[in-house]
Each structure stands twice: as structure tokens, then as C-alpha cells.
Subunit: 434 residues, 4 copies
């Protein structure tokens, strides 16, 4: 049965302003102003405390790698300064798709990382961080979105630098976020809860709301601390929102956040929960997540989630009590749109981008071929088991299983590319391990 | 072994101009000016006659559907007028990836199509076509690319309108292309060679070079005319470049163009060859192509080609004597970049976008984890058989097999969405057919 | 819906006689005698001329390899003399399953083959052939089955011996068949139609009915002679029944026999058709069949057909006009039973073995768990897409593609096992070929 | 590299005696007599106490269903009386393959089961049990094998009969085993440890060695008792050998027995360990095992283990400290042969059946085609990931998840086949559950 939507689409006011202005547009802008008065945006905690769903955005490094602005390997965000139009456009697409949060594109923008990963210093870390903040703010102001500044795992920690050194690294990025007055802060992508605690402690000094996510699965952090214990420690350190991001698929991630919630409640604490998983199916991962899959990072395509997989994720996350629901690597704008469409009944409206979609693909009702028109229904897409078109490929892989963690010699960071000698030693080790 | 590139990257001059200008940038701009003097671009036939490789761009409707600007079903290009920044950005990404052609985003922008497919008339067909030409020209001027205007299969033809009516429809779009002075013309996405011949005849009246592509596989057009005969007829109609686009994967498409080449040569004719396949693996398609796969259009993700699949395609196409090598639905900028990287030895340079990649993923040499660094080599990616992460899904599907063609009652176009009665009749027919 | 059978089961009279004799048994024996009067069996041509379905048996070498009596590699049938109880038991199981033909277990029992393939000469070729005839006759007499003596492809032919030499080899086996008075003869498993013609010519000298099968697919024999031409040549050589056996799965084999039928009819000839395919799915084979699949012969398990696949095969073969329907490598007794159950409506009775099955698994109605009982229905099994339980494995393989044929140096037969030097040369050749 | 075996093959003395007796044979018989003096067989505990490997046999009901002598659904063993030649032959094949144990074919031969499962009473339970004992003894005497009598899960228990009633049922079968003087006893195929304890208690009254296996996986018995606790309880009840059989694949089963071993050792107890898993890959099972897979029991073919999978299993089991290593449903003689070949270094000899195989398929050295000869090496088969030839099928299934256990209304046993009303109620329940 063709899907009919009872929801009004949230109009894309700012984008309209950039197009030719007609009488109709003006009226819509007025409506928007009524709906979301400028300067009166609710904060992240206000929304969550009120039980509202907050739709996050998707991961920038993978999306911009595909568009040609980020280098896989270093994964650094110099594009914020180098190619602002590309970063702005991606922000805008996520906004149109329904995102309530514009994360500053500052992943791995700590100075130690930029230096380690071979970034040629056309721009300083500060320039990159500032440009990223400006872009996020510019687009957030085009709709009902907040700006979040983020810090993440540092090479300093992996190389066993002191707590003070690591905290100083976070502080440097934080100074920019404070100066640019972001709305809240996220400590994200930590494999070790200890480093995440340090990050939360630094972020808390600003008085802004703090969210914290680990890139872990049900087996816990790389030292084996369980998700429940990790979450309780992060709440104690001051995070008001806790959860996971990256490294695992939605199924695994929702399961992990459930374990976090149980841990927080068992400890007699309270928190909000967030989930920002991969847009890749990873049923075959071990504790190190998709990094250890042989397909990472350049052959993950067959694992990409469909929009229907995403609707299932949004529902599962909601049912698990998670209210900050977003994504990470692999998410494209249409994935975020699917989250917003699935949760339209709870939120009361569709995102602007749904003008170009319609519930359960109802746009297909206007396809040239009638048998394709017949696919414009939920039942069709929910039941479909999509083929890979790759009969020579398996459905699962054996992940690498290095199992090394912070402080291990193999993880000591260096500025140079790996040498042939280092690679040889590595292969020898791998062969012995088999 | 880590991949080292002997090629200089073609610098992204225009983009640089938009960023902060440093001394280094100025020097690079000077170099670019030497390399590709403004106003002196070679035409499409000059390039092909000289044996040069011409890298095409990718399909806009699928890419922009994922970004939220095109509606699947109607697939119309009103975004050229509605959201020019999004269309410009995609052009720019393809340019950076190495494209030598900016196709105007005018697919399905004939008036009969816009009307049939329920486009709310905020913009006229003429406005959309003109906006698309301006965007293509603007970005083409940022690098070494030509602008191509395109016309494609019309609802008029499928509904059995007269040759004059169909040609008048092409003429209307063509008037815009002439006014905007595009560099050459493409008649593309035709399921019936007859309609493509008509299109070529109209396009030839301009005196500009004409390319023509059918969306067919080795079984030929929907009336069963073989690829070889189709190609010979198109050349006789006046096309200087012939080939296929859309509907099938690279393997199938290269095979089909080979058959076209044989047909042209057997007929004692001469032509250049082009190939713009899907970025989806479709070994299980029948003659109607990916439209008839149950996954079309919203669950094709597991079929997406990797960049390595694309390198293989570029090599195969080159070896088959095809020199105009591009893509269609499913292509993202990184797919085009892979074509340009594979053919860098032949072309003598890497695209600007390779600054953010490196041959065979050499950027991984700077990854945090040494075992991921060890993946920065051709041998690794070429041999990998990527898993789908979907153990409950098959590797192939059974396509629908309606087998109807032009003039069939099921293909008569209508302005309204399919009604429940129409769908019921359709399901009854499908069930009987099984 | 549980499957009910309207057919009487053909009782297993001889087997019953070997068990304790009760009053009930005696009555059944009487019934059997009425149904199939001893000594009055119809010949193979009488049956086929009358339009009856003849159910063949399955391949012995693969079945007995799994049971421990045949060595993969040589594939010789010395077990007929060494372990008669094992061979007799397999005959009996096929008979109970519904087979109307007991092929003598004389595959590769020509003297040149026995010698070449390292058979330690505990038994002479004549002893083996005679023992095989006696076993087939003994079991055939327990039911309504005929005995067929068979000859197949010789090492002599592959090594370019003369027509006379090759024919002399056939003659030697034939002398035993004549002495033991088999009911008809089969020339089977030929990759080259020329050698099959020679075999038919020799077999015809006996005056007995002659069937001839090639182990080819739609691409024809190894010299590229089409299935249609092959079949016409075999009919001209004197074969009354033509078809294929081994090397390909049922889908491919039925398709090939259809092409044979068309060829025979086009040549204005007449014949009966037979089909004895593999019980392995081989959609990925090239012209050399399953030998060239990397899984041959020890990892073919995931390809084994289910009983439901077999029912589909029986129906497809019947619908294609094939009336002699049997199997080859991979067939187990329950596969033959499935053929007999599918064609029970046409034949008017179920095989004795169906006492232990019931149509579409109706025996499940008495399973302990009610949800397993619910599987006792055709609809359930027909729609099921059975999983491999092997997520690390692909669904198809790339076959080896040696493409060598009779007379090629690589095919010259030798008595010794391959030496290390020979293998090295082979690997070098394979690597270059890639 | 072709596999060379340093081991002497254990000759198949009894089988030889049935063939023509030559001088060579006599010599071999003498050797055998030296190796395994008649009448002096070591008992099961003697062997295990001495650290010897004991190779079990495979499951009879599945193997004989395929051969046409057992009905899937009831799964009762009346063939022992009805078709003794078929049962004898299967025993003999397992013996030749290397089995040291002939289990009497008495599975589900308790009177309550025979009655419940619709067995038409041509033979009494006692007749069947006695015939099965005689066949096992006859073949065991042809080689170095012991006879084991077995009892298994009863309908009485599932229907909540009293402990006394259940024990009386075991006692009835046991009386036959005592009368026929089997060498030891096995309580096998129990889903609830409580019923297994009762069985062990009854079997212990005979003074014979007792083994006990549950059909459970790592999640424990159907009441959730962990494998470790189950094993400790069975040892306390008197079992000298504990382990698992049926329901799960080798990987899962070895893992479960490891957990049992840990449980026994933690409880300060001592035992020997045995493992008799399925020959089907079941990575997708839930706690109820393969019964709940949609493919059970008629479409399990794609899951069948190869001989190489079996060698891996034998090695894994040995490394886990398991010394009684056999199989269950799906095992064919060649699977047992693979166990014996893998453990030939530990046992010091190859089984008789290896005459027709050779280590790692060395018989292929004599194949007609040299590229197949090149497959006669361990490296080739160990690395191969065999394809299913089924591109339309998935690699895993979703098992049914009824989760009911002893005493649940759905498990109350009845003599009649399920009625349409019962099935309807069941489907309604299943649909609601989804």
C-alpha cells in the first residue's frame, strides 16, 4: 500500500532564501519563524529533559573522503579551512535531512594528531578548528540545530603521555570552542574509558553540557571495562549524555548502549543516552570494531546500510530509551533523513529533505514503469533481502585480531609513513599469530 | 608494497583561489596556467581523435537523491534551479576527481516529462535547463572540462506519439543548449534505438559534435536490435561517439560496447566509443537492466562498486578501445577519481582530488594502527573479496521480467500517481505470470 | 497443508522376503506379483515408445567413495569384485527409490583405464566387469528394473590412439555384457562426440538397444560441436536414446538436452531423450563442467541438491520431453526417490522407498515438535532458500579454464602419479595464464 | 605437495574374508591378529584411561533416511528388524572408516516413542532392540570395535510423567542390552539434564561403563543449566564419560564440551569427554539447535561438512582434551574416515577405508587431468572456501525461537498426526510472536 504521510514537512527556509523568493516562500518563512524563533533555540539538555528526540548528524571524514576532501589514513579535517564550501554543503545536507546537531568538523584536529599524521601545515590547528566552528554555526542558524564541539582520542594517550599532557591537548581545542561559543561539547571516539574520563573532566570546566561516547561494543573498552561500568564512570566524571559512536553497526551499538543504561541505573545514577553507529553492517567484528575488518576502509561498500535498515535502527534505538540518535562513518544525508522519517510520529514533523522522498519511498508512485510504482510501500522494502551482486564474495569476514591496546609498542605513534622494515616485521608477526 | 605514484597531481586551481592565497598557491596557479591555458580547451573530437582518454562524470540523479535534492520516482532535475549550490558542489567534486566533461543536469528535463512526473511548477522547463547550463559552465571553467548538453528518452515516445512530436520535445531542450553554447551534445539513456536515431538527427542540426548512448546490454535494445546494429544505425544517423550508459554494471557495459564496436567496424563505419555504466554490480539483470532488480532503487547498497572495482573497469574499458570513460547512477566522486588514477599512466597526471587519496590507498601509510598501514598496497585490495556483512541475504536476485516495450498499455504515461485499482491489476498480472 | 498421496506405494517385495515372513508380507508379495509379473519385463524401448517415464539410477563412484569403496582420482570400480555386498546394497537402495535401470558398476573398467589409474591388479578387468553384471542382475530381479551395461571415455582416445584401438577397448567390455546378457547398452560420459560415435558403432553390433550420453553443456563438446549437432550425429551412428550425463547440474543439463532435441528434430531424425545430471548446483561452470570447479571433488558438499531441487528437476525434464530421467555423481538414493515421487502422478505409483518418506515430507506430521510438524507441506519446502551455514564462503567460484582437449600434451595419460616436476610445470603455466 | 602417509592402513579383515581369499589376504589376516587379538578387546574405560583416541560412529537415522530405511519425523529404528542388511552395511562402513564403537541402532526405540510416533507394529520394541544388538555385535566382531547400547530422551518426560515412569521406560530397553551383553552404555540426546541424570542412574545399575551426552550448546540445557553444571551433575550421577551429541556443529560442540570439562574440574571431579556433533554447519542456531533451523530436516544439504572440515574438528576436539570423538546426524562414513585420518599420528595407523582415499586426497595424484592432480595436497583443501552454487540463497537463517521446554502444552505428545486445527493455532501463535 502506498505510504501516505500525515506529517507536514519542515520547510527548508534558509535554502529557500537562497533561491528565488516568491510569495509562497515568504509565507513559509513566516511559519518557520513561528515554529522556531531565532535566538530562542532550546538547548540540548532542555530537549532531552523534555523527552524530545534529537537527531544527530553523520560522520564527516568518510563522507568527505568520498567527495574528495579528506584523506583516508590521516583522516584529518583540514578541509574546513581548505575547502569550506564542501564542508558547508555537507552540513546543510544533514540539516535538510533532519539533523538537530551540527558537529564541528574538528575530528582529529588536535595538534599532536595533525603533526603525527603528516598534515602539511598550510593551516594551523587553530585555523582549522575555528573555520570548522564558523561553518557549523552558519548552517545551524539556517534551521533548528545546535552546534557541538568535539574532542576525541589522542595519539598522546596511545603513546602513554601523562594525564596532564593529554588534558592539555584537549584544552587547546576547547579554547576554540569556548571562543566560538558552541552550544555543547562532545567527547567522542575513545577506545579507553580512562582517556574519555579525562576529556570529560576538561570539557566540564566550561560549564557547557557534555556528552561522551566510546567507540566500543558489548565486550567493553580495550582494557575490558564493561559498557555498564564505562558509562557509570563517564557519568561520575560529569557527562550528562553517554553512549557510543563509530566502530560498530546499529544493532551492536544499540545493544551496547542498552548495557550502558543498565550500568548507569544499577549505579543509581541518571543520564541521557546517545548512539552514533556506523552505516555499515558489522556482525563479524571483534572488540576492535570495523578497523580490523579486512574491508576497512576501502572496500566496505557491500556493507552499507539501506534507508530501511536505518529506519529499523531509529526504531530500535528509540525503543531502547535512546533519544539522541545520530550516525558516524558511512552515514550519508539520506541515512539521517531515514532516521527523521521513522521518528516523524514521535517528533510531529518530517524533515525538509523529505520533500524529495516521501514515506517509504512514496515518490515511486510516479515512476515511469508501473511495476516499479508498485514498490512504493513499506511491506515491500521491509521484507526485501537485498542481494550483493557479488557471487564470488562471502557474507562475512574474519577480522584481524591484534588485540593490542594503549601503550603497546605497535601503537607508538610516529610522524613518518611506515617503513618497509616495519611492515616486514608486522607481516612476520601476523603469520606467526595464525 | 606501498604504492608510489610517479605522477604529479593536477592542482585544484579554482578551489585554491577560493581558499586563503599563500605564496605556494600562487606558484601552483602559475603552473596550472602553463598546463591548461584558459580559453584554449581542446574540443571533444580533437581529444578523441588524438587518442586521449576523456574521463566522464557520474550520474547526478542518484547522487543528489542521496544528498536530498532529487526525488526518486520522478527523477527530475529541478534542483538546478531550486538548489544551485548543491548541483554546483557535485559538479566541482567530479571535476576535482578528474572529469573532463560536465554534463548539464538536465536529465528528464523535457516539458512532457516534468509535467507527467508531477513536478510542481515552481520553475519552468526552460528555467531548469538554463540554470543547469550555467552551473556546468561555471565549474567547467574552473578546470580542463567541457560542457555537454543532454537529451534522453521521452514519455512521448513510450506513449507512441509521432516522430514529429518526439523531435519537437528534443528541440525544446536543444534550444537552450544552443543559446548557452554548450561544447557538445549527448543523446543518452534510450531503450529503443529508433528514438535515439531521432534524437541524434535533431542534435546534428546544431553542427556540434554528437554522442549517443543507449541503456542496453548484450541482448540489445528492447525490440531486440543487437548492440552492433544499434551502433551502426546511430553512426549512420550522425553520431561521432557511440556507446552505452546506465542500466548495467561495468562488466556488462564494456562487453556491450565491444559488440557495438564490432558492429560499426563490420558496417565499414568509424566512430569513437564511450561507456557510462552503473556503479552497481548487476550480474543478475535481464534485458531491462537494474530497473527490474527487486532492489531498485532503494536497496542497491550492497551492489555498490568499490574504487578497486572501478580501476578494473577503467582498465577493461581502455583495453577494449573505449576512450570516453565515465559513469552513471551510483557513481560518487571517488569512483571517478579511481578511473582517473587507473588511467594516470596513459594520461600522464593524477587528478586534483588524488591529493586526498594516493595510488592504491597509499594514504593509509599514515594510519594510526600499523596493521591498517599494511593495507596500503595494490595486491591487498585487488585480491580482497569484500563481505556484505549480510548473512541473511543472497548474492543474486531474480529480476522482474515484464518484457513490455514502447506502446505497451502498461507503459502509457499518466500525470497522476498510480491508483490502488491500477496496482491491484498489476499484482494480479504478476501473480499469474509466475 | 500436509501432503496426502493418492498413490499406492510399490512394495519392496524382495527385501521383505529377506526379513521375517508374516501373513501380511505374503499378501503383499501376491499383490506385487499381480502388478509386475516375473519374466515379463518390458524392454527399454517398449517403455519409452509407450511414453512411460523411465527412472534411472544415480552415480556409483561418488556414492561409493563416501561409503569407502571407491578411490577418488582413479575412480575405478574394483569394488564390484572386492566388496560386492556394498555394491549390491547401493543397487538395492536405488531400486527401492524407484529406479527402473540398474547400470552395471563398470565405469572406467576398461583395461587401459584400470592399468593407467594405478589399480593394483587383485582382479582382472574381466572379473570386475562380470561381477558388476551379476550384481546388477541380482538386484534388478528383485523389482521392475532392467540391466544396462555401459562403456565410457577412454584414456586411449585422449592419448590419440587410433580408432581401431579405441574400438577394441570398448569391444572388450562389451564381450562381458553380451555374455551376461544385459538388457541394453549405454555409451556414456564422453567429452568428444567423435569417440561417442565410435562407441555407439561398437555397441550397435550387438543388436541391443543403445543409449548415448555426452558429459557436455550448452557450449557443446570439447571441440565446440553444438549439442544439437552432437545429438544428430549420435542418432545417425545408431543410438535410439540420446542425452547428457554428469559434469553439469540439472538446470544446465535439461537445457542442453532441449538443444539436442531441437538438433535431432531439425535434422529430420527421431530419438528418445535421457538426462543424468549431477546432484550438485553448478551455475558457475565453464564448458569442462564440475571437474574445473575448485571444489572438485572433495568440497562439493555445499552444492548438493535437496530432494526438492530434485523434484523440480524431474518436472522440468518431463516438461522438456525427456522420459529417461536419472542421475549421476552426487545422487544418493533419496534423490532418486524424489524423482519418482514428483512423477508419481504420471507413473501411477510411488516407489517402495516412499514408505519411509511420504509426499513433500508428510512424515514430519509425526515429529515431536509441533512447529516442525508444520513443515510437512509443499509450499514450505518449495519456497525455502536454504542457507549454507558458511558465512565465510562465496556462492560461486571461478572455474579453472584449461580449455585443453583430446591430444593436448597435458592430457597424455601415464601410469605413474604426477611427479613434483610435472606439478611445478603446471603451476607455472597456471600462473602465467592468470 | 602431495600428501604421503607414513602410516600402515589397518586392513579390513572381515570384508576380505568375504571376498576371494588369496595368499596376500591370509598374510594380512595374520598381521591383524597380531595387532588386535580376537577376544582380547580392551574396554572403553581401559582405552580412555590409557589416553587412547576412541573414534565413534555417525548418526544412523539421517544416514538411513537418505538410503530409504528411516522415516523422517518419527525417526524410529524399525529397520534393524525390517531391513537388517541395510543396517549391517552402514555399521560395516563406519567400521572400515575407523570407528571403535558400534552403537546399537536403538534410537527412539523405547515403547512409548514407537507407539507415539505412529510406528505400525510389525515388530515389537523388544524385537527391534534385539535385532539392533545382534547387528552391532556381528560387525564389531569384524574389527576392533566395541558395542554400545543407548537410551535417549523420552516422550514420557516431555509429557511430565513421573520419575518412576520415565525410569521404567529406560529399564525396558536396558533389559535387552544386558541380555545381549553390550560392552558399555550411552545415555544420549537429552535436552534436560534432569532426565539424563535419571537415565544414568538406571544404566549404572548394570555395572557397565556409562557415558552420557546432552544435545545442548553453550547456553546450556533447555532449563538454562550451564554446560559446566550439567556435566558435574552427570558425573555425580555416575557417568564416567560426559559430553554432547547432535543439535550443533563441531565448532559449537567442542566449545560446549570445553565448558563441561571446566565445570567438572571446578567441581573437583574427574571424567572422560566425548563429542558427537552434527555434520552440518550451524553458526546460526539458538539454544534448541538445528531442529529450529528452517532447513531442518530436508534442506540441510548446503550445510554438510566436507572431509576437511571434519579433520579440523578432530584436531580441535583432540586439542580440547576430548578423546572419544565421533559424530551424529549428517555423518557419512567418509566423515568418520576423516577423523581417523586426522588422528592417525596419535593412533599410529590409518583405517581400512583409507585404502580408498589417502591422506589429504592423495588419490587425486592419479586423476586424468593434471590440474586436478595438482589438488592432491593439504594446503589446497585447507584454504579453499567452498561455494554453494546457490546465488539466490543466504549464508545463514533465522531459527524459529519457540523456547518451550518440558511440560509446555505444545510439547504434549500425541499418537495422531497433527490436525489442521492444531496447525492453524500454531501459525497464529507464530505470527503473533513475530
Amino acid at each position: 500500500m502506498p505510504a501516505e504521510s500525515p506529517f507536514q514537512t519542515q520547510r527548508d527556509a534558509a535554502a529557500e532564501r537562497r533561491g528565488p523568493v516568491t510569495a509562497a516562500t515568504i509565507i513559509i518563512i513566516i511559519i518557520i519563524i513561528i515554529m522556531a524563533p531565532a535566538g530562542a533555540k532550546k538547548g540540548i539538555l532542555e530537549r532531552l529533559d523534555a523527552g524530545e528526540v534529537v537527531i544527530g548528524d553523520g560522520g564527516f571524514v568518510f563522507a568527505l573522503e568520498k567527495r574528495g576532501y579528506v584523506k583516508a589514513g590521516p583522516w584529518t579535517p583540514e578541509a574546513a579551512a581548505e575547502h569550506p564550501e564542501a564542508v558547508r554543503q555537507l552540513h546543510r545536507e544533514f540539516l535538510r535531512a533532519g539533523s538537530n546537531v551540527m558537529q564541528t568538523f574538528t575530528f582529529y584536529a588536535s595538534d599532536d594528531k595533525l603533526e603525527n599524521r603528516g598534515h602539511t601545515q598550510t593551516f594551523t590547528g587553530q585555523q582549522i578548528n575555528e573555520a570548522a566552528c564558523d561553518l557549523a554555526r552558519e548552517v545551524a542558524d539556517e534551521g533548528d540545530a545546535l552546534v557541538a564541539g568535539g574532542v576525541s582520542q589522542t595519539p598522546s594517550y596511545l603513546s602513554c603521555k601523562s594525564q596532564d599532557d593529554v588534558k592539555a591537548t584537549f584544552k587547546k581545542q576547547l579554547d576554540v570552542f569556548v571562543k566560538k561559543n558552541v552550544d555543547f561539547l562532545i567527547a567522542e571516539y575513545f577506545e579507553h574509558v580512562e582517556e574519555a574520563e579525562w576529556a570529560v573532566q576538561v570539557l566540564k570546566t566550561t560549564g557547557k553540557p557534555v556528552a561522551a561516547t566510546l567507540c566500543i561494543g558489548p565486550e567493553g573498552d580495550l582494557n575490558g571495562v564493561s559498557p555498564g561500568d564505562c558509562a557509570a564512570r563517564l557519568v561520575k566524571a560529569g557527562a550528562q549524555i553517554v553512549g557510543v559512536n563509530c566502530h560498530f553497526d546499529p544493532d551492536t551499538s544499540v545493544k551496547t548502549v542498552k548495557m550502558m543504561k543498565e550500568g548507569v541505573e544499577k549505579a543509581g545514577l541518571k543520564a541521557h543516552y546517545m548512539c552514533q553507529p556506523l552505516a555499515y553492517h558489522t556482525p563479524d567484528c571483534n572488540c576492535q570494531g570495523f578497523i580490523d575488518l579486512p574491508e576497512f576502509p576501502f572496500s566496505l561498500e557491500p556493507r552499507i546500510l539501506t534507508r530501511w535498515d536505518m529506519q529499523k535502527y531509529a526504531r530500535d534505538a528509540y525503543d531502547a530509551g535512546i533519544r539522541y540518535i545520530g550516525g558516524c562513518c558511512g552515514f550519508e544525508p539520506y541515512h539521517v533523513r531515514a532516521l527523521a522519517e521513522e521518528l516523524a510520529p514521535e517528533r510531529g514533523f518530517l524533515p525538509a529533505g523529505s520533500d524529495k522522498h516521501g514515506n517509504w519511498g512514496s515518490g515511486l508512485e510516479m515512476h515511469t514503469k508501473p511495476w516499479v510504482r508498485a514498490r512504493a510501500r513499506r511491506d515491500y522494502w521491509e521484507k526485501l533481502k537485498p542481494a550483493s551482486g557479488r557471487p564470488l564474495c562471502p557474507s562475512m569476514s574474519m577480522p584481524d585480531s591484534w588485540g593490542v591496546t594503549k601503550g603497546h609498542a605497535d601503537l607508538m605513534q610516529q610522524k613518518e609513513a611506515t617503513s618497509q622494515e616495519q611492515l616486514k616485521a608486522l607481516f612476520d608477526k601476523a603469520n606467526k599469530g595464525q
